[in-house]
């Protein structure tokens, strides 16, 4: 059934700091970076920071692990006079597009008028994301996981990838293709961290961090901040750029995915999945669209294998056919035609978490906005619909369809 709030809100401002290799942002602080991203997003929207009266974020703003930002400190830092809405989507990076849904909820409830969604990330040596599971003191629940030596998210995802390979014959070449195809898109991105072409040999000699996943299957470790501003359509039309209309957005998931890879109790076929099926079904229900209607897909790529499983969960291909789909070139962006290849939908035209930067999913939202504005580097011609996803992670995960105004 068509979503009651369809096309009533839009993202009107985007802002980001430079992207730094892990730890290189110091001596900048989290609030310094978050503030820069917000001010740039306001400038992009053509509004004053004093007009922000809503904050909708995710991951409890704790992705910096030690230094967090929060609503009160951001208000104090930036001089935001008041907020009528402040909310965070639970769990982790799976909530990033869902936070736009949260912003929409605040706007539609008339709690606020301009809502900022942001992530600021700084990985100093004492709190690297990649080792945070392993270095934290064991609690009674993860005492059933941590002693196995599955110490980081990539280790955990590798176990899911192995099951997918076992069930469906998924080939390691498909993981390579995901990394190479999205690397190609990062080559001419000025702010991308990885801007050199990736040879087969370089991929295959990349250290196996958790077989079947190699270092190059793992996302970048970067620092930086990204903010976007959402408002109602009537206000959006007065903003500086063409609005990126919120056409569909959902977060959630089913218990079969639940605690996901922090648990390993998922039944088949959920175990070898991205846990996105429930959210994908909701989004296609809300919009009446399907994966094939998307002009571009910005798919959360903390690990290459999980891109493949999201392609299946969102219905770009059938369950178990992700390997063949990817290997047929269908996630490629063709610079010559400014479109897809072999009937596919271009994926991560910005290079993604694997190649451009990892700001816990916010760069995918920015690219989605730019694609429907028509202003990005690897612009899909005549781009009307962009899918943005967040996760897989423990629930909730989320997805967003942006529409050209």
């Amino acid at each position: 059934m068509t979503w009651v709030n369809q096309d009533k809100c839009a993202i009107v401002g985007i802002g980001a700091t430079d992207y730094y290799v892990r730890g290189k942002s110091w001596p900048r602080t989290i609030n310094d970076m978050a503030g820069e991203a917000i001010l740039k997003a306001c400038e992009d929207a053509g509004i004053s920071v004093n007009q922000i009266d809503g904050i909708a974020y995710y991951s409890t703003a704790g992705a910096g692990y030690l230094d967090k930002f929060d609503t009160a400190s951001l208000m104090e830092t930036l001089g935001i006079p008041y907020v009528g809405f402040s909310a965070t989507l639970t769990s982790g990076g799976g909530g990033c597009p869902g936070a736009i849904g949260l912003a929409t909820a605040g706007l539609m409830n008339q709690d606020c008028t301009y809502t900022v969604t942001l992530m600021a990330l700084q990985q100093l040596p004492q709190h690297r994301l990649g080792v945070v599971f392993g270095s934290s003191a064991p609690n009674p629940e993860n005492s059933f996981l941590q002693p196995s030596g599955l110490v980081g998210p990539g280790h955990l995802m590798s176990v899911l990838a192995r099951r997918h390979m076992h069930l469906y014959g998924t080939q390691p070449e498909a993981f390579k293709e995901i990394v190479q195809a999205t690397r190609e898109n990062a080559l001419d991105r000025p702010k991308a961290v990885r801007r050199k072409p990736l040879s087969d040999e370089e991929y295959w000699t990349s250290p196996m961090l958790a077989d079947p996943l190699r270092r190059l299957d793992f996302c970048l470790e970067t620092d930086g901040a990204v903010a976007v501003i959402t408002t109602t359509m009537d206000r959006a039309r007065d903003c500086r750029h063409k609005p990126a209309v919120v056409h569909g957005v959902a977060h959630g998931g089913t218990r079969e995915w639940g605690r996901a890879f922090a648990w390993m109790g998922m039944p088949d076929p959920d175990f070898a999945s991205s846990g996105h099926k429930f959210v994908a079904d909701r989004i296609w229900n809300q919009t009446g669209l399907t994966a094939k209607d998307m002009d571009v897909a910005l798919i959360y790529d903390h690990f290459s294998s999980m891109v493949l499983m999201q392609l299946e969960d969102y219905g770009f291909c059938e369950k178990g056919e992700g390997s063949d789909y990817v290997l047929s070139g269908k996630i490629r962006y063709d610079k010559a035609t400014r479109g897809g290849v072999n009937g596919g939908v271009p994926v991560n035209t910005h290079g993604g978490n694997l190649n451009e930067a990892y700001i816990i999913g916010m760069t995918h939202i920015v690219e989605g906005v730019e694609q429907v504005r028509g202003t990005t580097v690897n612009q899909v011609e005549d781009c009307e619909f962009a899918l943005v996803t967040g996760g897989p992670a423990s629930l909730p995960v989320s997805g967003l369809v942006l529409r050209r105004a």
């Binding site: 003191a137 030596g149 176990v159």
Partner: protein, 145 residues
């Protein structure tokens, strides 16, 4: 790829914590008994143990002795000791426990070359003493007995 022998991670330095929901599992392991949390009403198994049965919401728990065998559901192969960073081949493994309705333990597998590990392989529990007098269930191939 060729990795050679998979070794369970050294018990020294491995810590766990417990709470009243999970402690019976670890108490049994200290006595070299493999158990899992089973609902005292509907019989559904759940791991890690938690206060309520997700099937029937009962809080009654029983802790039956399991056969100590299981099947590899999935695994990874890692090459560095996560504590020291030294070269150290180990196989984190997800094991479906025999005698349950697919309750799973995440553990290590030893007694086999890492490149020979397969999903569906039968494994048997072994015991790895860790810090503070606790004992961790680990696994070895049934064939290796």
């Amino acid at each position: 790829m060729s990795y050679g022998p998979a070794r369970v991670l050294p018990g020294e330095g491995i810590k766990i914590t417990t709470n009243p929901d999970t402690e019976p599992f670890w108490g049994a392991a200290r006595e070299r008994r493999l158990t899992a949390c089973q609902c005292g009403d509907c019989g559904h198994f759940r791991m890690p143990p938690s206060p309520f049965c997700p099937k029937c919401q009962s809080t009654r728990k029983v802790w039956p002795d399991l056969p100590g065998t299981g099947t590899i559901f999935s695994f990874a192969i890692c090459s560095k000791n996560p504590r020291t960073g030294e070269d150290y081949v180990y196989v984190p493994v997800v094991v479906s426990l025999d005698g349950t309705d697919d309750a799973r333990l995440v553990s290590n597998l030893g007694g086999i070359n890492a490149e020979d590990v397969r999903i569906g392989q039968k494994v048997e529990v072994d015991w790895n003493p860790i810090d503070d007098g606790w004992v961790l269930p680990v696994f070895k191939p049934v064939e290796a007995l």
